[in-house]
Symmetry: C2
Subunit: 304 residues, 2 copies
């Protein structure tokens, strides 16, 4: 048997693909509990683990509109909701498409996001997603930071470090996060709405059809968007190739017969849907894709 | 660059090859401290971590002779000290040589081990090593088990299980443990004498020249030993191949230009010498070889 196929098959025989669920009604895992999952590089979800956070209890569109009334925020704009995702480029080949970034009054941004969800914008409208990953909840959104815990004690104690970045992401169901992976440990907290995750362990690398993609960015041009190549020194992603490309998965477990590799059929994705207050531990180097599955009162927010 | 070479080189750039030393004078690591090392699959040594154990404080040849006076123990016998090691077989090819096993009065065994060390036996004398790995300290040597801690609390709490096996090994400087690996977490405690370990992480597999070796056993024949093939169903090793062979490392980091692979030169072995009372955490799947480097009062014992 092909040793790569045997490795992947054996992994799923031994580990299954069902995520461990801890009942977190007021009780978080201990640092040692958490470290056992880190040691096994295995995700878990803590149902209601953040249920007591003021953000989970209090946030709503009117609340945020009021709290961030005068704020200008950075917004990622795409014609289709696919930011930082593989996209057909100008010459038909698949490229890595970064969003167009705009600064916008937070209240205007909130109107765009909620109106699109309510179908008050026409179907071709651009998609807006507040998705900066530069520790925005301690900077751009600092005025609402006090509504979330300043760190996750079980993770801080176990890993012996404070979070490098705390990010707030706000979008609607048109925003999709393509399958990707990061080289840091991640605790994701759902604040409003429901989000569905599809997860694969890092040893599924042979399944996901990672290809070196040239980096392009959307640029607003009149009423449209153009994809233009990044300049050679423009890429800030840590894992860029020397040639400016970025390795990115083309296979989507939810579209399994497109862009598949001979190993894709062996992957058994772990799936989990988060409700408000749920916490997800996403281990370093796991692949994750996510999409919104349901709105609560036409509003959708995530705190990460 | 060859990706395997890059992996090995990067590992040692990031991790170095110096073992972490905790000063354990009365203080063991916490379960969380330990779990961090398990998560990183990284060895550490706790100097004097077992210094307070009655075995470390009290054991000596006279003490054990008295405590185990009437006991019969299982002893591994080889003509050269290499038990469970690659050895030239009858037709010149390298085979995996298992020792001849004998039951012997413990006091007679102790005489053989100490007299060989004192050069009171001729140079061609066989080597005896009490090295059963069947939880012998809770069975064969149960009468002295009370002199060691019944488990290692930081490991039991972190791993949520009691030790599967607690083994006592007794030998002299003629016994060598060839480079091998086990698929379980291991805490090694030195009781008497000094032992030197050479360790390699599991990703050095391409460096150690693992080959499928046919399994042979020493059989006593008159005044000599013969190596005879194992019967097909005789092998009890868990990782035997279907054909009865066992994969075993042929490269020895201390003889680096013999049996090397193109990757051997990239390996940076971690070396540590244990004194009585020292504890070593040897992570699952690490390669380890060990040899005695010094005797305390012409006696040598290890508790594992």
């Amino acid at each position: 048997m092909d040793p790569i196929a045997e490795l992947i098959t054996t992994y799923f025989e031994l580990n299954g693909s069902t995520i461990d669920e801890l009942d977190g009604s007021g009780i978080e895992p201990s640092p040692l509990d958490f470290m056992r999952y880190v040691a096994r590089n295995t995700p878990f979800v803590v149902r209601r683990g953040a249920a007591s956070w003021p953000a989970v209890r209090n946030w709503s569109v009117p609340f945020l509109r009021n709290a961030l009334a005068e704020h200008v925020v950075n917004v990622a704009v795409t014609p289709n909701g696919y930011a930082d995702a593989p996209t057909p480029g100008p010459e038909g080949k698949i490229v890595f498409a970064k969003p167009w970034e705009e600064n916008q009054l937070f209240t205007d941004f909130l109107d765009c996001v909620t109106q699109q969800e309510k179908n008050q914008l026409d179907a071709t409208a651009e998609t807006r997603y507040a998705q900066t990953q530069n520790d925005n909840l301690r900077h751009e959104y600092a005025s609402v930071f006090s509504d979330v815990h300043k760190d996750i004690p079980f993770a801080r104690i176990a890993l012996q470090r404070s979070p490098e970045a705390i990010n707030l992401w706000i979008g609607n169901s048109h925003s999709v996060t393509a399958m990707h992976r990061d080289n840091y440990e991640n605790i994701y907290v759902q604040v409003l709405g429901r989000k569905h995750f599809v997860l694969l362990p890092s040893l599924c690398q042979p399944c996901v059809n990672e290809q070196p993609l040239e980096q392009y960015s959307y640029v607003r041009a009149d009423d449209n968007f153009q994809l233009v190549p990044e300049t050679a020194d423009g890429g800030a992603q840590g894992h860029d190739g020397d040639d400016g490309t970025v390795p990115f998965a083309l296979w989507d477990p939810d579209v399994p017969l497109k862009n598949e590799t001979p190993y894709s059929t062996l992957a058994e994705p772990m799936r989990v849907t988060l409700d408000p207050g749920d916490m997800l531990y996403l281990p370093a180097m796991w692949y994750a894709a996510s999409r919104v599955v349901q709105f609560s009162r036409r509003q959708y927010l995530t705190v990460h």
